[in-house]
């Protein structure tokens, strides 16, 4: 399991290669990338600053990865979450799951994304045309997480 909270960008092909190495048993690789959008609600977003809780962030990402690995037969797993100043079009988060079969890879990636939204100690502040504001948590996110119970 590769877990990283980092300021730097990531490259998906390179991250997939780290999981594959010389393995020939993997049948399925699912990835999900979350990006900064240039619009939120009706407001144009100029910049997004991601604050995080160093130490606890890595611990929580690890916990979420372990939960996913306990539910689905994964062969490999990467979760990278960026922090710092990001701009529309920039990558925020990457999840990669590998498995022998596609169902496990897909479901685990979805599960991890739902849990990241509510459990990873990261906070988004947006700079819009109307000024700066902290992004509010959505009750929708709690619902998405709860559907896995």
């Amino acid at each position: 399991m590769r877990i990283s909270a980092q300021a730097e960008d990531f490259d998906i092909s390179q991250e997939i290669n780290l999981l594959k190495e010389a393995r020939t048993d993997l049948g399925a690789i699912a990835t999900f990338t979350g990006l900064v959008r240039d619009i939120h609600g009706e407001k144009r977003v100029k910049k997004m600053t991601l604050e995080h809780f160093p130490g606890m962030a890595e611990k929580e990402l690890t916990k979420i990865g372990v939960l996913a690995s306990e539910r689905w037969p994964l062969e490999g797993l990467t979760i990278i979450h960026r922090y710092g100043e990001l701009y529309p079009g920039d990558n925020i988060v990457l999840v990669i799951t590998t498995s022998h079969h596609r169902e496990a890879a897909f479901k685990a990636a979805e599960f991890i994304m739902d849990w990241l939204k509510t459990d990873a100690p990261f906070w988004k502040k947006e700079e819009t045309e109307d000024g700066n504001h902290w992004v509010a948590a959505k009750s929708e996110d709690d619902n998405n997480k709860d559907r896995w119970n």
Binding site: G55, V93, W123, K125
Partner: protein, 83 residues
């Protein structure tokens, strides 16, 4: 006791961390929040919306009735918006 603040709670209080002496009669997270509110309006503002307060003790999420001691590290922040 070490306290850490994040996001709008950090901004309202005006610092990202501080060390305080935990009063003898405070032994829960809720008690700590009430104690901090006596320190100034910045804390009152930070904790005004009680349903938006999340707390971690030693990097573990806890409920507000969690028991604490002076050697714990307490982080206070709003709901996470990662992902």
């Amino acid at each position: 006791m070490n306290l850490i603040y994040f996001a709008y709670i950090r901004e309202s209080i005006g610092k990202s961390s501080e060390t305080i002496d935990l009063p003898d009669d405070v032994d829960t997270v809720n008690g700590l929040l009430k104690h901090l509110e006596t320190k100034g309006d910045n804390y009152k503002t930070a904790f005004a919306q009680s349903d938006l307060i999340r707390v971690a003790v030693n990097e573990e999420y806890v409920s507000l009735d969690r028991k604490i001691t002076g050697s714990d590290e307490i982080a206070i922040f709003p709901p996470m918006t990662g992902g």
